[in-house]
Structure formats: structure tokens, C-alpha cells
């Protein structure tokens, strides 16, 4: 390959976080006018890599060359001045300003000795940029009124207006409709023609194959390999992504559920726009996995079952009796526990102690004098029981929960549901954002609970977790159940394929 044609070259880039090697010795190149797809499972190091290119993180070691010159990217401003534009999943547009204002924010064309904004020039310049990309959006519209896809296009136009030479797109199709995806692909083709380099990150392999010239696979912070797209196939890439699985922290495989006693049954469940025709059963003592990429509808479905968001139609049977769960209190009273994937915004009671965080659901039952006053002796007894089961590590029970590590915070949040004697536990990404040791403990806890007869729904984007822990795993794609595997016929490759909508026979 022609050396002059290389735009970005990365040599032995390494980044460590406390206790984790997020990226080690990664080499990587992107040519001018090339679309280079970057794939890998969660935690493979994709986002660490792009954050270093975008100036969010600084590498511990390694070099970055742009157009043959060595550069340092210490902050986002330097990324911009080096002509690198990162289009993140969340957009950084100002909703109350117009499209043109957003494109030129901070460097608006001026008139009358820089006193006033030259609106006419700004609008016409914005229109030129949009036209160059073939985007049809009135540049006087407010960003507030734009669809997600339109916002993304404005973000791209904004990057182009500062003459970005390298675009990094992080899961750009995640929230787009199929039609919008087609439009995005046209824009990417147009950028390519103009000699711009693109790093394209996606869960969806089909997109990587459709768009890219080369594909690089990362796993566990290391580069596994780079393939020229038309010389490889999905099967090869998937096996590179999955590789050998670290199994040591998973417990032994044992069939726990007897597959007879149904605890929960969901029938013909629909939530407008999110899920349709969902039917499944949950057996006593079973760990049932839910797999699916973003947009699969798993989260809306589980929230709805727990009563914190509405449903359009469908029935829930709890221990063979039809139930109407109107809010979370109904669900809790039935014996359903729910552990959110968003511990920060929906889990922790920041200002409160570990003790109070753990007992909040059942505090009413720990009272005397007609349910009025809290009997703190009972409260502490409940805490000690749960803390023993979950092995929570703390300095004092009156310590505020924010001072605990992520793993221990998660144990408290799980413990909160367990104190209410739950029969069903819904866990969403229970090991997200916690270190490997704590992960193994959470896995042990789940198996222990299942052995005690508690049924668990485990929604996870970490496939090894599903393969090694669950008795069965149901795969969701675009709001529908598309596949179901049991312990014997489940492996990561099949799950990856089913998650991205490929039809497979199991």
C-alpha cells in the first residue's frame, strides 16, 4: 500500500486504568478516503481508542501520526485543530439554537467590525455545507425540532465546516430508522469521495461489511487483526471478536431449573414502537438470559413488566394467576425485584447511608407502634443478614453509599431487592462498570440465588456472561424475539449473529 496514502497512523498505543489494561500496544492505520471499521465486544477497547484520538484520554505510551507528522492530542481542542472530528452517540449540539448557529457556534461570521453576527452569510455558508453533503435541512430550523438522524447530520456538517480530515463515528446507526441509515451511508460515501478518512464503529457487522474498506478487530484491549473487507467474511470476524473465552470466574455448569414450575408468563405483550408479540415463560430457579443490542426492546419490556412504564397490550401471569402490575409497588408486593442498568441515575440514593439504601424498600415492615417508628435493631439485623450473603465490604453501615466501590454499590442495590423476599429478580447489566473480581462475585451471587429457587431474568450485553450463567437465553432483535438457545446449543458466535438479526437455525 502506498505510504503517502496513510492519513492516520497509530503506533503501540497503550492506556491503563487502575487495575485494567484498557488498550495495549495497538497499531492501526487509516488511509485517505478510506472507511475503516473497528469492531469488538463491549470492553474490547474501541471507545478507549477513539477517546484518545478525540483528546478525552491521554495515552500512557505510543505515538499518533497524522499525515506523517507526529502529533499529541491532549484535549478536545487539539483534536479539532488536528482536523479530527468525533461523532459520539450523544450529540453535543445546542438545542435552542438554529442549525446554522450550531454549525458556526463560537466562530460566527461577523460584520461591522465584528460587532454583529452576519446572519445572511452564516445561513448561506451553512446551506453550502449541507448541500455539499446532499442534506436537505432548512438551516434556520432549531435543533430542538430535528429528529435524531437530522441532528446527527448537523453534527457531521459541523465537523466538515471546520475542515475535518478524519471522522470517527461511534455507533452512528444505533438510533436511526432504516431509511435514515441509507441516507447516512450516502453521506459517508460522499465524504469518502472528498478524501476524508472515516473510522466506523458498529455492533452491526452487516454495516461494517457494506461500508468499509478494511476491518480491525479489538479484543480485551488488544488488536487481534486487520482484514481487507472483501477478502474476509462475517464468520471469520465473529470468531476473531469472540476468541477464547476466559471461563475461570464462572461457576460450574449445572442444570438448576427443573423446567416444570412456571413462575412468570408473559403473553402477547406489545409496547408501541418498542416491542411486539412477546411471549415467554420463566421457570422456578432458572436464570433466563435476554440478549440484544440497543434498540432490541429489552429494556422497555422489562421496565414495563416491573410496572414503571406502560404497555399497549398483553398479559402477565404470576404463578399462573393473571396479575395487573400498575406500578413498582405492585411488582414488589408480588415478589418481583428489579435492578436497573443505570445505577447512577436510578439506583443509588446518594445522600443516604449504606444501611438506609439497603432497607428502603421494606422499611415500612420494620416498624412498631402501628407502622410508625422504625425499629433500628431490626433494620440492622436485616442489613447484616443480606450483607453476609452478598459479602458487602464497608467501613461503617452509616457511611454514605457514594463512598463505596462500584461493585459494592451494586451489591447494595441488588441486596435492596433481596430483602423484600423476592421470587423473581430482574437484573439489567448487573456487572456493568465494576471490576473483574466483583463481577465474579455477582455471578456467584446469581447462582446462589437461583439455587435457592429464585428465578432470574438476566439482561446482559456481555455474551460470556449469558453463555456461562443462563439456563436459556432469548434473543431480541428490533422488538421481537428472534431466537432462543438453551445451555447445550448456546455459544457466543450464535448469540452475536442472532443479536444483529441474522437468521440462524439452532
Amino acid at each position: 500500500m502506498n505510504e503517502n496514502n496513510v492519513f492516520l497512523q497509530i503506533d503501540k498505543l497503550t492506556k491503563n486504568f487502575p487495575g485494567v489494561k484498557a488498550l495495549s500496544d495497538v497499531d492501526f492505520t487509516v488511509n485517505k478516503g478510506e472507511v475503516h471499521a473497528l469492531v469488538g465486544e463491549n470492553g474490547a477497547g474501541k471507545s478507549t481508542l477513539i477517546k484518545m484520538l478525540g483528546g478525552v484520554y491521554r495515552p500512557d505510551s505510543g505515538d499518533i501520526y497524522l499525515d506523517g507528522k507526529k502529533v499529541t492530542i491532549a484535549n478536545t481542542r487539539q483534536a479539532k485543530s488536528n482536523k479530527i472530528a468525533v461523532i459520539y452517540q450523544e450529540f453535543y449540539l445546542i438545542p435552542d439554537l438554529s442549525v446554522a448557529e450550531n454549525i458556526f457556534v463560537g466562530r460566527e461570521p461577523r460584520i461591522l467590525g465584528k460587532t454583529f453576527i452576519n446572519w445572511r452569510k452564516m445561513n448561506s455558508d451553512a446551506k453550502k455545507i449541507l448541500d455539499r453533503l446532499g442534506i436537505d435541512i432548512d438551516c434556520k430550523r432549531f435543533v430542538l425540532d430535528l429528529s435524531v438522524a437530522e441532528r446527527q447530520m448537523v453534527e457531521i456538517a459541523k465537523a466538515l465546516s471546520v475542515d475535518a480530515r478524519l471522522f470517527i463515528m461511534d455507533e452512528p446507526t444505533e438510533s436511526l430508522t432504516e431509511k435514515e441509515v441509507v441516507k447516512l451511508f450516502e453521506i459517508i460515501d460522499e465524504l469518502k469521495r472528498q478524501g476524508v478518512s472515516i473510522i466506523y464503529i458498529s455492533h452491526r457487522l452487516e454495516e461494517a461489511f457494506k461500508l468499509s474498506d478494511r476491518i480491525t478487530v479489538l479484543r480485551d484491549g488488544k488488536k487481534i487483526g486487520t482484514k481487507i473487507t472483501r477478502e474476509t467474511n462475517e464468520e471469520e470476524i465473529v470468531s476473531m471478536m469472540v476468541g477464547k473465552i476466559v471461563k475461570e470466574y464462572f461457576a460450574e455448569k449445572t442444570i438448576r431449573a427443573d423446567g416444570k414450575e412456571v413462575v412468570l408468563e408473559v403473553k402477547d405483550y406489545n409496547i408501541a414502537d418498542d416491542v411486539s408479540d412477546i411471549n415467554f415463560k420463566l421457570y422456578k430457579g432458572e436464570i433466563l438470559g435476554f440478549a440484544g443490542v440497543l434498540g432490541s426492546g429489552i429494556h422497555p419490556l422489562l421496565r414495563s413488566i416491573y410496572g414503571i412504564s406502560p404497555r399497549t397490550s398483553g398479559d402477565i401471569y404470576f404463578e399462573n394467576k393473571k396479575v395487573d402490575i400498575k406500578n413498582s409497588r405492585d411488582a414488589i408486593d408480588l415478589g418481583i425485584g428489579y435492578v436497573t442498568e443505570d445505577r447512577k441515575n436510578e439506583g443509588l440514593l446518594y445522600d443516604m447511608s449504606i444501611l438506609h439504601n439497603l432497607t428502603i424498600i421494606i422499611i415500612k415492615t420494620l416498624t412498631f407502634f402501628k407502622g410508625l417508628f422504625i425499629r433500628s435493631k431490626n433494620e440492622i439485623k436485616v442489613f447484616n443478614n443480606i450483607s453476609k450473603v452478598l459479602d458487602i465490604k464497608y467501613a461503617s453501615i452509616h457511611q454514605r453509599i457514594v463512598y463505596l466501590s462500584g461493585g459494592n454499590q451494586q451489591k447494595v442495590v441488588i441486596g435492596r431487592t433481596l430483602v423484600s423476599d423476592c421470587k423473581i429478580l430482574i437484573l439489567l447489566e448487573p456487572t456493568r462498570g465494576i471490576d473483574v473480581g466483583a463481577k465474579a462475585e455477582i455471578h456467584r451471587i446469581m447462582i446462589d440465588l437461583a439455587k435457592k429457587g429464585i428465578s432470574i431474568i438476566l439482561s446482559s450485553s456481555e455474551l460470556p456472561e449469558l453463555v456461562n450463567l443462563t439456563d436459556r437465553t432469548i434473543v431480541f432483535y428490533k422488538g421481537k424475539i428472534t431466537a432462543e438457545f438453551n445451555r447445550e446449543n448456546m455459544d457466543e458466535e450464535k448469540l452475536v449473529a442472532a443479536q444483529i438479526g441474522q437468521n440462524i437455525n439452532n
Binding site: S328, N345, Y350, D351, H356, I360
Partner: protein, 333 residues
């Protein structure tokens, strides 16, 4: 490196100082104030002076109990001064027909209805608590003027004065009322499930809803309780004046907020400090007393309250910032 180290030490010292201030800050202020007043006035260390200062402090202190709950739940109530006035005029208008006990109950009930409406508007209609209660302040004040046609209404039953000016076992009744309410609110906030729920809602509303709490009910209860405390103060003040005044307690809301925040209740919600509120109320009353002693006019008192509020907010802001730093750096607090 050197500079980083320097910063670390400064942060550490600051965190330690703020933790100490959280515990004893208000007492230090009171001691300093007492020393100052003792020097300035030979009459300061007499029982009736001290009782009078504490009695003055009960007004703000009692309503601050309610405000502590509101702020702990993540809300706010700016309508308390108007509720004091509403209680006052309803009392004065109904005492002749209903007699003292029934009139008190009725006026308190009406005030609680105002709190209920605040709560419903904030929870069911999702209106911002600041704006809701500020509008309610204007409306309630307007109603107080409307039903009295803007006049003050004298009360002829002089035995009613006992509540505001009488003494039991040698202690002024308002102080006894405050102590009783303090015990009730203390138990409520720290020893009952409702109190726990109020802290939870103020800490994280979504997490509370997921944990099965009835967030709407909890918040409405909070606003009813704030209005309840305001109406108690309305009764005490009306009893002292022996007259129903529709313009009673102008600017009182700001005094209550000052006392609440000076008393150590964090503006960000979740953590309330009732003991601090009692002493902050007394401290504000000491400032008033001191200013009277010097013989300055009323508007200097307003100025002083404003300054104290800004000081209290400043400390609260520092606290939020440095405790966050402490958390990130792993400094033990």
C-alpha cells in the same frame, strides 16, 4: 508534582474544616454572637432577655422545620409568609363565632389545604416548586386581603394572648411549642418510614420510584407539613398582636430559608438538619436583638438577613464542591 501536593493539602484541610463546620459551625456562631452581645449590653445575661431572643427565634425555627423537610425532599416552599398571614386573618375572623380552640383548628386546616394544593400542582402537574409556591404566595396573600377587605381585624378575647405571650412553668409558651414540634419533626424525619422516604425522594427520585415509593404522596405530605408549621407560627404571632393582619410577616420566607440553610440543610436535597435549624433561628434572632441594641432601623435587619443567607449559601456551595473532590480523591471524611 509540588503544586499537586500543595493542592491536595489545601483540599484536605478544606474538607476537614467543612466537616467540622457541619457539626459545630452554628454553635460557634452563637457563642461568638453571645460574647459580642454580652459586651455590648449589660442586660443580655438576664433570663427574660434570653427568653425573648429565643422566643423571637421560634418563629423562623418552627417554619424551618417544615422547610427542612421540603428541601430534604428536593423541593422548596416560598409561600410560607403568605400562609402565616392567611392563618392570622382566618383566626381573627372566626374566633368570635367559633371560640378559640375551633378557630385555631380551622385556620390550621385551611393552611394545610394551601400546602395540599402546592403539593398537587408540583407533583400532578409537574410545575416547578419555586414558581408554584411563589405564585401561591401571591394568591394566598391576595385572598387574605380579599376576605378582610384589606383591613386588620382586632380580636377581643384577651385570653387568646396566652399562646404567644404566656408562660408555662416559667417558660414562654412559643418555646414550649417549638420544643414539642422539634421532637415531632425529629422523630418524623429520622425515626419514621415517611421521613426515610422524604430523604430518599430528595436523594434520587427515579431510584425511589423504582423502589416502590409513592413519590407523589410523599411530596404532597411534605408541602402539607410545611404549611402546617407556617400556620402554627401564624397562630403564635396573631396571639401576640391580638389582631388579624393580612400583611403579616413580609419577607419572612427569606428568613426561614436563611435559617434552614444556615442550619446545615443541604440545598441539593437528601440531607436535612433540624437541630441546626433551631440554633440558626436563635442566631438570626440574636442578630435582630443586636441591631435593635445599636438602635438601627428595620431595613438594616433585612440587609443582615440577606448577608447571612449569602454566607450560608456560600458555605453550602463549598461543601458540595469539596465533598465531591474528597469522594473522587478518596479522602476519608
Amino acid at each position: 508534582m509540588e503544586r499537586d501536593h500543595h493542592y491536595a493539602i489545601r483540599e484536605y484541610t478544606m474538607v476537614k474544616f467543612l466537616k467540622l463546620y457541619e457539626k459545630i459551625g452554628i454553635f460557634i456562631l452563637i457563642i461568638l454572637g453571645s460574647v459580642f452581645l454580652a459586651i455590648a449590653s449589660p442586660n443580655f445575661f438576664r433570663a427574660d432577655t434570653i427568653f425573648s431572643i429565643i422566643t423571637q427565634g421560634t418563629y423562623g425555627g418552627i417554619v424551618a422545620f417544615g422547610m427542612v423537610l421540603a428541601i430534604t425532599s428536593g423541593g422548596f416552599d416560598l409561600s410560607v409568609d403568605a400562609v402565616v398571614a392567611l392563618t392570622s386573618v382566618i383566626l381573627a375572623m372566626t374566633i368570635p363565632d367559633l371560640g378559640i380552640p375551633l378557630a385555631i383548628i380551622l385556620s390550621i386546616l385551611f393552611s394545610c389545604v394551601v400546602g395540599f394544593i402546592n403539593g398537587v400542582l408540583i407533583t400532578k402537574f409537574g410545575v416547578n416548586p419555586l414558581i408554584t409556591t411563589l405564585s401561591m404566595a401571591t394568591i394566598v396573600r391576595g385572598v387574605a386581603f380579599l376576605i378582610t377587605r384589606g383591613r386588620q381585624i382586632p380580636i377581643s378575647q384577651s385570653e387568646f394572648m396566652f399562646i404567644g405571650t404566656g408562660k408555662l412553668w416559667g417558660i414562654p409558651v412559643p418555646i414550649i411549642i417549638m420544643v414539642v414540634l422539634f421532637i415531632i419533626f425529629y422523630l418524623l424525619l429520622y425515626q419514621t418510614s415517611l421521613g426515610r422516604y422524604i430523604s430518599a425522594v430528595g436523594s434520587n427520585e427515579s431510584a425511589s420510584a423504582i423502589s416502590g415509593l409513592n413519590v407523589t404522596f410523599i411530596k404532597i405530605m411534605v408541602y402539607v407539613l410545611v404549611a402546617f408549621t407556617a400556620s402554627i407560627v401564624g397562630v403564635i404571632r396573631t396571639s401576640q398582636a391580638l389582631i388579624g393582619i393580612p400583611s403579616m410577616a413580609p419577607g419572612f420566607t427569606l428568613t426561614v430559608l436563611t435559617i434552614t440553610i444556615l442550619g446545615g440543610t443541604s440545598l441539593s436535597g437528601g440531607r436535612g438538619n433540624l437541630i441546626g435549624a433551631v440554633f440558626a433561628g436563635i442566631f438570626i434572632s440574636m442578630i435582630y436583638y443586636g441591631l435593635n441594641l445599636i438602635g438601627v432601623q428595620y431595613f438594616y435587619q433585612m440587609l443582615a438577613v440577606g448577608l447571612v443567607l449569602i454566607f450560608a449559601l456560600f458555605i453550602d456551595g463549598l461543601r458540595g464542591r469539596y465533598l465531591e473532590v474528597a469522594r473522587i480523591r478518596g479522602i476519608k471524611v
